[in-house]
C-alpha cells in the first residue's frame, strides 16, 4: 500500500541536498554531511523496496489515479508533476536506490581526504540521486525533461568536481555541451509531439490500441515521416545522454571525476536515463519501425566502436568507460530489435512473448548497473591505494587487495558473459533478440544479421578487454613500489554486496514468474501478445542451452578471455611485437579513438569557428555599423541644429511667435473644415 507514497522517494535525497547545502558547516554532524545523504538514500531505498513489493503484487500507478500537482497552465496546456509507477519504474527505482545508497556509503571511505570540499560533493550527489528518482517517476515528458536536464547539470558539476585540474574542467564542459546536443534533439521531438497530440502526458500518449488505431500518432495527424522524425529526435536525447555513437566521446572523458561519481553516472543515474527514455517511449516507438531500426543500428555501431576502443586503452577507468558505452549499445540494440518485432507482429493475435527484446534491454540495464558499479568502485579502490589510473604501472595487486581483486573478477566474468554470472543471461537474450529480428523482421533482416555479427564480435572484445584489464591490474608482478593495502571496510563492504548482486541478479530471470513476464507488462497499450509467459526455470534453462546461438556467444567470450590470458598473463605473444606492422596501425587508430575526437575538434574549429567568424563580421559591420551610423547621424545633425541656439533672446521670441501664428492658422483651417 506504499505505492501512493512513491513521490516521497525523490524527496528524501532532495531534502538531504537542501540540508547539506544550506545548514552551516558546524551543524552538519560530520564528514561533510555524509550521514544525511546516507540516511536519505537508505530511506529512499526502503521506500523503493516497499513500492516494488506493491508492483510485484500487481499494483501500478499509471494515468489518472496517480497523485499529481499542477505547476502552471498555459492555454490548454497544463504542466503537472505526477508520478507513474509501473514495472519499468520499479526496476529503475531498484537500480538507482540500491546503487545510489552503496555509492554514498563507499564515498565515506573514498572521499575521506577531501576536507571541506566533501560538503559540496555530498550535496551534489544528493541532488543527483534525487533528480534521477524524479526522472524515472515522471508521468509526462516535460516533467521528465526537467529532471533530465537536472541530471545533466549534476553530472557536469560532479565530473568537474576537481575543477582546479584543467582536464577535469574541460571534461565537465564536454559532457555538458555534448549531451546538450542530444537534449536539443529531445526537446525538438517533444515539441513535434506536443504540436500534434497536444499533450505530453504518458497516459494520453501511450493510450495506443494497435487493433483500432485509436490513440496512435497517425490518429493525431502525424504522417509516417513526421512520426519517424519525432521518434528519431526523441532518441537523439538518448544518443547524448546514453553516450551513443556519434556523441559517445564525452563518457570516457568523464573519468576525470571521482570514481564514485563514475560509478553513479555509469550504473545508476546519467547514462541509464537514455535507455530508460527509449524503453518508456515504447508505445510510441512501435508505431515507427524505421526509428526502431535506426535505434538498433546506432546501438550496434556504438557497441563495436566502443568495445574496440577499450581494447587498447591503458587507463583502467577508460577501459571501463568504453565498456559502458559498448554495453549501452547492446541495450539500445535489444530495444530497437525488440521494438521492431513488436511493430511487425502486434496486429497478429496469435503471437506471444513479443516483449522479449524490450525486457532483454532493461534486464541488461539492471545487470549491467550492478556489475558496472562494482567495477568502478573496484577501480576506485585500486586508485585509492595506488594513486594512478595507468594499468601499465599496476600489476600484482591481487595478492594484497584480495577482496577488491576477487569482486572485480566476478564483475569481469559477469560482463564477459560467462555463466552463471548475471551478464551472461542478459547478453544472451540481447543476442537472441537481435537474431530473432534477423529471422522475422522482413525487409530489414540483413541489417539485423550484420548487427548480430557485430554483437557477437563485441562479445569477444568485451571478454578480451575486461580480462586484459584484470590481468594487467591484479595478476603478474608488481610494477610500482607504492605501499599497497586493502581498502577500508566501508569501501569493501559495498563491493561485496555488489558482487553478490553481479552473481545473483541474473537469476531474477527464473525467479517467480520470471523477470521478463514481470517487465513486459509495462508496455502500456500494447495488447496481450506482448506479455511474456511466466517461465518454468528448468524449461527456460533448457531452452537457452539448447540453442546454438548461446554457444556462439559463449565460445567467443571464452576465446576472448583466453586471448587476454595468453597475451597479458602468460606473455606468449609479446605486447611490444603486437604494436608493430598492421596490428600496430590498428592499435594507433584505436588509441586515437577512430579520430572521432579529432573530428569533433575539426568540426568545432572549422564549422563552428568559421560560423562564429561570420557572425563576428556581421556584428562588426552590420550591428556595430548600424549603431555607429545612428550615433554619426545624431552627431552630424547636432552640429547643424545647434546653430539654432544663437543666444539672442529675440530670435527665440520670433520663433515662438511664428509657431504661435502657425498654430492659430492651423486651428482656423481645421475649425473651418471641421465645422464645414
Amino acid at each position: 500500500m506504499m505505492i501512493e507514497y512513491a513521490w516521497l522517494i525523490p524527496l528524501f535525497p532532495l531534502v538531504a541536498f537542501l540540508i547539506i547545502s544550506v545548514v552551516p558547516q558546524k551543524l552538519l554532524i560530520r564528514e561533510g554531511g555524509a550521514p544525511w545523504i546516507i540516511g536519505a538514500s537508505t530511506a529512499s531505498f526502503v521506500l523503493s523496496v516497499l513500492v516494488i513489493i506493491d508492483v510485484l503484487s500487481g499494483q501500478t500507478l499509471t494515468g489518472g489515479d496517480a497523485p499529481s500537482i499542477t505547476w502552471f497552465s498555459v492555454g490548454s496546456f497544463d504542466l503537472t508533476f505526477g508520478i507513474w509507477v509501473d514495472q519499468l519504474t520499479a526496476v529503475m527505482l531498484l537500480v538507482v536506490s540500491l546503487i545510489g545508497t552503496l555509492v554514498v556509503i563507499y564515498s565515506v571511505g573514498y572521499m575521506h581526504d577531501e576536507g571541506k570540499r566533501k560538503r559540496r560533493y555530498y550535496a551534489e550527489i544528493a541532488l543527483f540521486i534525487g533528480v534521477m528518482f524524479g526522472l524515472v517517476l515522471a508521468d509526462n515528458y516535460l516533467e521528465m525533461f526537467i529532471f533530465w536536464e537536472l541530471v545533466g547539470l549534476c553530472s557536469y558539476l560532479l565530473i568537474g568536481f576537481w575543477h582546479f585540474k584543467p582536464s577535469a574542467s574541460s571534461a565537465a564542459k564536454r559532457a555538458f555541451i555534448v549531451t546538450r546536443v542530444g537534449d536539443i534533439m529531445l526537446l525538438s521531438g517533444l515539441i513535434i509531439l506536443l504540436k500534434f497530440v497536444g499533450t505530453l502526458d504518458f497516459a494520453t500518449l501511450f493510450a495506443f490500441n494497435p487493433a483500432t488505431g485509436e490513440g496512435s500518432l497517425a490518429a493525431a495527424g502525424m504522417s509516417p515521416g513526421i512520426a519517424t522524425l519525432a521518434m528519431i529526435l526523441l532518441f537523439g536525447g538518448a544518443i547524448g545522454k546514453s553516450a551513443q555513437f556519434p556523441l559517445h566521446e564525452w563518457l570516457p572523458d568523464a573519468m576525470e571525476g571521482p570514481s564514485t561519481v563514475s560509478a553513479l553516472i555509469h550504473a545508476a543515474t546519467m547514462v541509464n536515463a537514455g535507455v530508460y527514455l527509449v524503453a518508456r517511449s515504447f508505445p510510441l516507438l512501435v508505431q515507427t519501425p524505421d526509428a526502431l531500426v535506426f535505434i538498433a543500428i546506432i546501438g550496434g555501431i556504438t557497441a563495436i566502436i566502443a568495445a574496440s576502443n577499450a581494447l587498447v586503452a591503458n587507463d583502467i577507468k577508460r577501459v571501463l568507460a568504453y565498456s559502458t558505452v559498448s554495453q549501452l549499445g547492446y541495450m539500445m540494440l535489444a530495444l530497437g530489435a525488440g521494438g521492431l518485432i513488436i511493430a511487425t507482429f502486434m496486429l497478429d493475435e496469435h503471437q506471444e512473448g513479443l516483449g522479449v527484446g524490450y525486457s532483454a534491454g532493461i534486464f541488461h540495464l539492471m545487470n549491467h548497473a550492478f556489475f558496472k558499479a562494482l567495477l568502478f568502485l573496484g577501480a576506485g579502490s585500486v586508485l585509492h591505494v595506488i594513486g594512478t589510473n595507468d594499468m601499465r604501472r599496476m600489476g600484482g595487486l591481487g595478492k594484497t587487495m584480495k577482496i577488491t581483486s576477487f569482486t572485480m573478477l566476478i564483475a569481469s566474468l559477469s560482463i564477459a558473459g560467462i555463466p552463471p554470472f548475471s551478464g551472461f543471461w542478459s547478453k544472451d537474450e540481447v543476442l537472441a533478440t537481435t537474431f530473432h529480428a534477423f529471422e522475422d523482421a522482413g525487409s530489414y533482416n540483413m541489417v539485423f544479421l550484420i548487427l548480430w555479427i557485430i554483437a557477437v564480435a563485441t562479445a569477444f572484445m568485451t571478454a578480451f578487454y575486461m580480462f586484459r584489464m584484470w590481468f594487467m591490474t591484479f595478476a603478474g608482478k608488481r610494477k610500482s613500489d607504492t605501499h599497497i593495502h586493502e581498502s577500508p571496510r566501508i569501501m569493501t563492504a559495498p563491493l561485496m554486496i555488489l558482487a553478490a548482486l553481479a552473481i545473483f541478479s541474473g537469476f531474477s530471470f527464473f525467479t517467480g514468474q520470471g523477470f521478463f513476464a514481470f517487465l513486459s507488462e509495462s508496455i502500456t497499450g500494447i495488447p496481450a501478445g506482448v506479455a511474456v509467459e511466466a517461465v518454468n526455470p528448468l524449461e527456460a534453462l533448457g531452452h537457452i542451452f539448447a540453442s546454438p546461438l548461446t554457444y556462439a556467444s559463449l565460445i567467443v567470450s571464452i576465446i576472448g578471455l583466453f586471448t587476454a590470458y595468453t597475451i597479458y598473463y602468460k606473455g606468449t605473444w609479446s605486447v611490444a611485437r603486437l604494436a608493430t606492422g598492421t596490428a600496430g596501425k590498428m592499435q594507433r587508430l584505436l588509441a586515437n579513438r577512430y579520430y572521432i575526437s579529432w573530428f569533433y575538434d575539426a568540426f568545432a574549429y572549422n564549422i563552428v569557428y568559421g560560423f562564429s567568424v561570420l557572425v563576428d563580421l556581421f556584428d562588426i559591420y552590420v550591428i556595430d555599423g548600424a549603431i555607429n551610423g545612428a550615433a554619426w547621424i545624431s552627431r552630424k545633425s547636432g552640429a547643424v541644429m545647434r546653430r539654432a541656439q544663437t543666444g539672442f533672446v529675440q530670435n527665440y521670441i520670433a520663433v515662438i511667435l511664428l509657431g504661435t501664428c502657425l498654430l492659430i492658422i492651423f486651428m482656423i483651417i481645421t475649425a473651418e473644415w471641421g465645422g464645414g
Binding site: Q645, G647, Q650, A654
Partner: protein, 106 residues
C-alpha cells in the same frame, strides 16, 4: 455702441506693435516697454469680453475685469524685477543692449 470687433482689432494692433518692438528693439528698456504694450493689448481684450458679456448671457460677467486688475499688479511686479535685471546687466556689460547679451549660445 462701438461694436466689439473694433475693440478686438485695436487690441490686436496693439499686440502687433508690441511684438514688433520686442523683436527689433536693442535697448532693454524698450523691450520691456514693448512687453508692457503687449500685456495691455491682452488686458483690453479681456475687458472687452467682460463688457460685452451681457450680450451672451443674461448677466454681466465681471471676471475679465478682475483678471485685468490681477494682471496689472503682476505687470508692476514684473517691471520691478526687469529693471533690477537691467541694473545688473549694466554693471556687467556697461550697456543694456540686448544684442550683446548672447553668452548662452552654441
Amino acid at each position: 455702441m462701438i461694436p466689439m470687433i473694433d475693440w478686438l482689432i485695436f487690441a490686436s494692433l496693439l499686440l502687433a506693435i508690441g511684438a514688433y518692438g520686442v523683436l527689433t528693439a536693442k535697448n532693454a528698456i524698450l523691450v520691456l516697454m514693448s512687453i508692457e504694450v503687449m500685456l495691455n493689448a491682452a488686458n483690453i481684450s479681456l475687458v472687452t469680453f467682460s463688457a460685452y458679456s451681457s450680450q451672451l448671457h443674461t448677466y454681466t460677467d465681471s471676471m475679465g475685469q478682475v483678471f485685468v486688475l490681477a494682471s496689472m499688479t503682476v505687470a508692476a511686479a514684473e517691471v520691478a524685477v526687469g529693471l533690477a535685471i537691467f541694473l545688473v546687466l549694466y554693471k556687467r556689460y556697461g550697456s543694456i543692449d540686448v544684442t550683446k547679451v548672447n553668452i548662452l549660445r552654441w
